[in-house]
Amino acid sequence: MLKVRLIPVLLLMNGRLVRSAGFDTHQIIGDPLHEVKRFNEWNVDELIYIDISRDGGGFEGRPDHKVGGFADVLETLEAVSETCFMPLTWGGRIRSISDMRERFSRGADKITLNTAAVDDPALITEGARIFGSQAIVVSVDVKTVDGRDQVVTRNGTHATGLSPVEWARQAADRGAGELLLQRVERDGAARGYDLDLIHAISSTVSIPVIALSGVGRFEDYAKGVAAGASAVAAANIWHFKELADRQGKSALARAGVNVRL
């Protein structure tokens, strides 16, 4: 039987691994490769790696720093893929088919689109046609703006006016293979997932929905699954709790969820 996936999310900002809160506060936590090696040793299900570097922020992973050692983000991807024998989704600053191709050729199995998908939805279809739907993940970032839930882009700074349910349906119809669902207000807040949002989106589309944003306790995962998520993801808990994979899987199994132990 198909298992529910438990997925760590790593955020790369200007060459360094960071933790994030509310999409706008970031704290450097380390080396872009160290965590990947740890996850690989733990035999984790899958990895999502998102480059959230801001334009003009430079790339700080120079060899004279203690962290990184890579000249640019694509070199980081290449090094990650050499250490990672699990499915790897890469996101951030992907704007075109050639950006996608570059990332696949460096070892990504899937790419995730956020801003570019909203700006040019035809890119989803074109990407799916060339690389297959399974390789195109659309990241749906949701935030309450002007009293209603809207899809946001540009690292959560730009409200698009799109309804999350409508946009999710459109992204799936256009050929996305999965949706990565984020609730901006819960990013780094450790209050649990937005279960209503997960339910609304996963009951609208037939493609898998990966829940992200808000996990503070390992028990939060199973609630996301019960709300309809096909996979449960988190970022901070993987850095700040011991044995995050084992404990997360155990909590899911205790709740009766079929996981790969």
Partner: protein, 207 residues
């Protein structure tokens, strides 16, 4: 040396990385002449069946494979779409002939009972033959799958492992020097690496 056919279908890099991680000399083969120098040949692939056959044929790989794999008997491993391409034909986007090495048809997965397709994620492998490529995997192995079509071989004896997603389908096929997996061993952590290691041992034994 293991040659990984580079015909523009999917993430070859990860297959290369996986073999290199276990100390195997593996190279990408963008042209068929590399296959003649190889001891083992791996056909990976993600994407659509007809497109893959066109690329193999146009790239001159079909003739080279007939020579190296069918006549010379080099150990062959097809991954995902690469396994399906060994079939007689596929019903993906019409009806298209495959390499025709192991009789059978590639058909769409059934969505009966509300099963989500593509079948994507980790699933259990029901091992029915452990003396071949599956001899090194754990007692209750699971592997990473991404696909919407399944291979239905005419002769069930070629199936070494099944998986179930709605329907029960062939996940590992072995017949002589031909081997294939519907899942992605290069993305399946320890069990996947164990399978690739067993294939590599087979390549060494043959050369």
């Amino acid at each position: 040396m293991i040659a990984i056919i580079d015909y523009g279908m999917g993430n070859l890099r990860s297959v290369l990385n996986a073999f290199r991680s276990i100390g195997e000399a593996a190279v990408l083969a963008p042209t068929p002449d590399v296959l003649a120098r190889a001891d083992g040949i791996v056909l990976p692939g993600v994407g659509a069946f007809p497109e893959a056959m066109v690329r193999l044929r146009d790239g001159g790989f079909v003739d080279a494979l007939e020579q190296e794999v069918r006549r010379d008997g080099k150990p062959f491993l097809g991954l995902c779409l690469g396994m399906q391409l060994m079939a007689t034909e596929s019903l993906e986007h019409g009806r298209h002939a495959g390499l025709g090495w192991i009789e059978g048809t590639v058909v769409p997965m059934s969505t009966a009972g509300g099963v989500r397709v593509p079948h994507m994620g980790w699933n259990d492998l029901e091992v029915v033959r452990r003396d071949g490529i599956l001899s090194g995997v754990s007692a209750t192995p699971s592997f990473y799958f991404v696909h919407s079509f399944v291979y239905q071989p005419t002769n069930a004896a070629v199936v070494s492992g099944y998986a179930t997603h709605g329907e029960r389908f062939a996940a590992v096929i072995e017949s002589g020097n031909l081997q294939g997996t519907q899942f992605h061993p290069e993305k399946s952590q320890r069990d996947g690496i164990a399978l690739l290691r067993r294939y590599a041992e087979r390549v060494h034994a043959a050369c």
